[in-house]
Symmetry: C2
Subunit: 368 residues, 2 copies
Amino acid sequence: MMVKNRILSTFMASALSIGLCHAQIAEDFKPSSLNQPGQEYPMVNSQGYARFKIVAPAADSVRVSLGLGGKGGTKLAKTEDGSWMGTTEGPMDEGFHYYNVKIDGGKFNDPGTLNFYGSVRWESGIEIPAKDQDFYSLKNVPHGNVQQILFPSPSTGTSRRAFVYTPPGYEKGKGKYPVLYLQHGWGEDETAWMNQGRANLIMDNLIAEGKIKPFIIVNTYGMTNEVKFGKIREFKIEPFQTVLINELIPYVDANFRTLANKDKRAMAGLSMGGMETKTITLNNPEVFAYYGLLSGGLYAPADIKDKSKVKLIFLSCGSKERPEGVKKSTEELKAAGFNAVGYVSEGTAHEFQTWRRSLYQLAPLLFK
Amino acid sequence: MMVKNRILSTFMASALSIGLCHAQIAEDFKPSSLNQPGQEYPMVNSQGYARFKIVAPAADSVRVSLGLGGKGGTKLAKTEDGSWMGTTEGPMDEGFHYYNVKIDGGKFNDPGTLNFYGSVRWESGIEIPAKDQDFYSLKNVPHGNVQQILFPSPSTGTSRRAFVYTPPGYEKGKGKYPVLYLQHGWGEDETAWMNQGRANLIMDNLIAEGKIKPFIIVNTYGMTNEVKFGKIREFKIEPFQTVLINELIPYVDANFRTLANKDKRAMAGLSMGGMETKTITLNNPEVFAYYGLLSGGLYAPADIKDKSKVKLIFLSCGSKERPEGVKKSTEELKAAGFNAVGYVSEGTAHEFQTWRRSLYQLAPLLFK
C-alpha cells in the first residue's frame, strides 16, 4: 500500500506538474514580427514565451542564447523531421531582444529572423509583443523620412554615415527644426535607434497625436566598438567628440533646415552612448541645452559649472536595472534647482524596450 | 630502373602540379570589403579567389555555396583549431556575390560578412575587387542622401517602404529633378539597389565628374517574391502596378521637388524587375518616356504602339548571359527608328556587377 501510494502520489505529482506546465504555456504562438519574409519561426505567444526552430539535421547540438537569465539560453531538441526545436523556460521581457544560435560550437544567426547590429555583430532579433506597443507601431499617420547621409570627416579621413529623421512635412515645408543627437550603446552602431528603437515611428506617432512639436533626430556611430566591453573606462572620448562637434553638427546645420543654436539642440544616449553624452555635454556647454542619459550614467549637480545653460536633464533606466540611482540623482538635481526628470520603465532591463519608452517620455520635454 | 623512373616521374609530376597550384593562387588575401567590423574572413586575393573560415568545431560538414559553376560550391576542410577553411577552386567573377553556408544540413550565413537580401532571404555577401571599381567607390565628393520613406498604400492596406536617392545639394536647393524608378530582381527587395548596387555612390561619382545632370532615384519592393522562381509567368503585374502608378509616384511627386511629367520620368529594372518595367511602361505610355531592361527581357518594335512617346530604350546584360539577344533587339529597335542603346558588361553574369555597370551606362543617357 505504502509503495503503491508513493507511486501514485509521484505519478499524480508529475501529472499535476505536466498539467500545470501545459496550462501555463498558451499554445497561441505566432511568428515574431521581426521574422524574414515568409518565415514561421521564431514564434512568440501571448504570454511572452519564445519558440525556436532551426533546421540542421546533422548537428550534434543547437542552443539559442535567449532564455532565462544565467541559464545559458535555451537548448533545442532534435525532432523527427531533423529540425531542432525549443521554447524558452519562461516568458521573456516585453520588447526587442538580440540573440544568436550556437550550432556545434559555432555562433550563427537564426535564418528565420532579420538581423540587428549589437554586441559588435549583426545578431538575430525577436520582438515580444508589449502591452504598450501602440506607441511604436507603424500606423496610418503621416510618416517622416529616415535619411542616410555621408558627411565628410577630415579628422578620420573618410566619409562617415549618419541617419537623419526628418518629421512629416519637412520635405515640402520651409520651417526650421530643433535637433536631437541620439546615440546608441556599446556594440551597436548608427542603425540601432531606427531599427531596434523604432525612433522614427515613435516620433511619427507623437507628432500625429499632437503630443510634441516636430524635431529632427540624428544618429551616428559613436566609435564605441573600438574598446572591449569591460574596458570601457579606457575609452577615449576625443575622436568621437571631434567628429560630432566639429564635423557632423556643422554638416547637419549646413544641409538641413535646423535651428542652429544651443537652446534648440539636445544630446541623449543609451548605455555607453549615455556615458558619451555626459562627457560631451559637460565639455561643450555652448552646444547643447538638453541632456538625456538612458541607462547610461547620472549627472551630479556639481558636474555642471553653469546651471543657467542647462534646460533639461533627463535620466532613465529599466526597473530591472538600478532605478534607485536614477531616482536619487533626479531628486538631487531638482533640489539643486535643475529642471530634472527621472523615468523608470516598469518590468524591463538593459534592453531596447527601456529605451523606446525613454525616448517616448523624453521627446515631449525637449525644446520647450 | 623502369620502376624507379616511374616513381620519379610521378613524384615530379605531382611536385609540378603542387608547384603550379601554389604559383596560381597569389597569397595576398585581404578581408572582403563587405565583412562585418573586425572580421578577417572571408578574404579575397588579387586574382579573385575567395577564402572562407567558419568556426564550428563539432560540425560534420561545412560547405559554402560560392565556387565554380555547377560544382555545388566550396567544401571547407576542418583545421587543427576546430575551424573550417577553404578556397574557391578558381577565381570568381568581379563584383558582388550572394552566398550562404551549409552546416550539417542547415542553411546559415557566414558570421563574418554583412547580409544582403536576395533569394527571398538575407544572404551573406562578398565583394571581389573589380578593375573598374572606381565608379562605385566611396570617394571624397559631395554625397547625396538615401531616404527611407513610408508611403500610404490604400490598395494594400498598409504603409509601404521605398528608398529615395536625392542628389547632393537637394536639401538646400530649390530646383526640381527628374526621377528614375529603379526595380530590383526576383528574391530581392527595395534595399538591393543601394546596398548591393551602390546606386547612390554611382550617382555621386557621376555627378561629381560632371557626367550627368542630377536626378532622383526611387526603389520600392516589386512584390516579386510572392511568386516561386520558375513560375514567373504566373506573376500578376496588377497589384504592383497599382502601388507604383497610383500610390508611389503621386506620393513622390507631392513630397519631393520632382519634374512631374512623362518626359522627366524613367523606369528601369534588373531581371524580374525588367519584366515588370517592360509591362508597366507598355501599359502606361503617358507615365514614363525612358525605359531600361537590365538582364531583364527585350522590347520588340511591335510592342510599342506610339513611337513618339518613347525617348530611350536601354537594353543590357552580362557577356556571360545572352548578349546576342540584347544586340539583335537593339539593332531592330534602331532600324525601326527608336533611340535604342544596347550594353554588354564584359566578363560578368546575371549578377550585380552587370547591373552596377548598366546603371553607370544608363544614367548619362537619361532625361536629355
